[in-house]
Amino acid sequence: VSTESRIPPGPLERRIRLLLHAYPPGYRADRGAEMLGTLLEATPDGRDWPSARDSWSLLAGGARARRTANRQLGPATSLRQAVVLGLALYVSLESAQFFMPDPLTRAHGTPMLAGLLLAATVLAVWAGHRTLMVTTAAASLAVLAYYWYSYWAIPAFRHRPPFEWTALQLMSAVPLLLAIPALAWLATDARPALGVALALVVSQAVPLATFVQVDIAEHEPVASVWQWHQSADVEKLALAVVMTVAMAWMLRRRTRPHPR
C-alpha cells in the first residue's frame, strides 16, 4: 500500500471531489476523504467518471445530509432566511415586471402571492414537512404559471410586440428561471451564507443588469417603458439596491467568528 499523498489527483478523483460538494461542508470535512477512497475503490480501473448510480446516490445523499443539518438550525435562523428570501423574490418579480407594460401584469398581488408561497415552501423544507412543501411548491408554481400565461393568453393583450419587446420580455424571465434553482439550493443549504449569497446574485444582479441594459438602449421601443418606470417604479429599484446592500451586510456579519 502506497503512503505517498502528494500524487496529483486524476480526472476521476477531481470529478468525485466535485460531486462530494453536494454534501454540506461540515459533513465533507468529516467524511469526504473516506467517501472518496471508497468511490475510487468502487470504480473500475480505466474509468474517468464514477458510475451514474454512484453519482446520483451522492447527490441524493448530499441533499439528505443538508436537510438533516438544516433541521438543526434554530427557528430564528430559518425564519430570518425565509424572510430575506421572500423579500428577494418579491423584488425580483417586481423588477421583472419593469419590462411588462400591461396593467394586468403590473398587478402586485400575483408576484407577491408567489413570493410568499415560495417562502413558505422553503420554511416547509427546513422544517421537514414534505406534504406542506409539495403543496406550497405546487401552489407557487401554479401562481407563477398563471402570471406568465395571463400576459400571453388574454385576447386584449394578444398583440404581437416588436422584436425589441420580445427580447426584453425574455430577459425579464431570466431572473425567475434562475431564482427557482437558487431557492432549491437555499432551501437545502446548511451554510446560510452561501445560499443567501446565491439568492442575492440571482434575484438582484440579474434584474439590475437588465435595467442597466435598458438605460443604454434608450431608443423608441423602450421609451414608453422607461416613462412608465419613471412614473411608478423608481422606488422598486431603490428597494432592490437597499436589499442588495442589506444582504451583503448580513453576509459580512455571518463570516465573523462566533462571539462567546
Binding site: V1, S2, T3, E4, S5, R31, A33, E34, M35, L36, G37, T38, L39, E41, A42, P50, S51, R53, D54, W56, S57, L58, L59, A60, G61, G62, R64, A65
Partner: protein
C-alpha cells in the same frame, strides 16, 4: 411495540458486518455477495445507511487508519445492531413460512397446492 421492517440495503449492511468489522468498500462487496448480486449498494446510499445506523446505535466505528493519504474507517456491529438484525431475520422467516411451508403453520393464507 414492534419496530418497522428494515429496508433491504439496511438489512444487508448489518448482515455484511455480522462476521466482523469491515470498511466502506468491503461492506459494499460483502452485501453484494450475501444477496447473490441483488443488492449493489451505491456509495452515497451506504454512507447514508451508516450515518443512520450509527446514530441508532446499531453500528459503531471500530478503527480508523490512513491508507494512501486517505482516511479509512472500519465499522462493526453493536449488540443492539446484532439483535435488530436477528429480529428482522426472524420476522422475515415467519412471513416466508406462511407461503413456503403453509402446512407447518396453518393460517388464513395456507392453501392446498393444486393437483392436475
Amino acid at each position: 411495540m414492534t419496530s418497522p421492517p428494515m429496508r433491504e440495503p439496511t438489512y444487508f449492511v448489518l448482515a455484511a458486518l455480522l462476521a466482523g468489522p469491515l470498511h466502506g468498500y468491503a461492506i459494499i462487496k460483502r452485501a453484494e455477495e450475501l444477496s447473490g448480486g441483488r443488492v449493489r449498494l451505491a456509495t452515497g446510499t451506504l454512507y447514508t445507511a451508516l450515518d443512520r445506523l450509527t446514530a441508532e446505535g446499531n453500528v459503531e466505528l471500530v478503527s480508523e487508519e490512513t491508507v494512501a493519504g486517505r482516511v479509512r474507517r472500519t465499522y462493526g456491529l453493536t449488540e443492539s445492531g446484532s439483535a435488530a438484525l436477528r429480529a428482522e431475520a426472524q420476522r422475515m422467516a415467519e412471513a416466508a413460512a406462511l407461503i413456503i411451508a403453509p402446512e407447518a403453520k396453518a393460517g388464513p393464507l395456507a392453501r392446498k397446492p393444486r393437483t392436475a
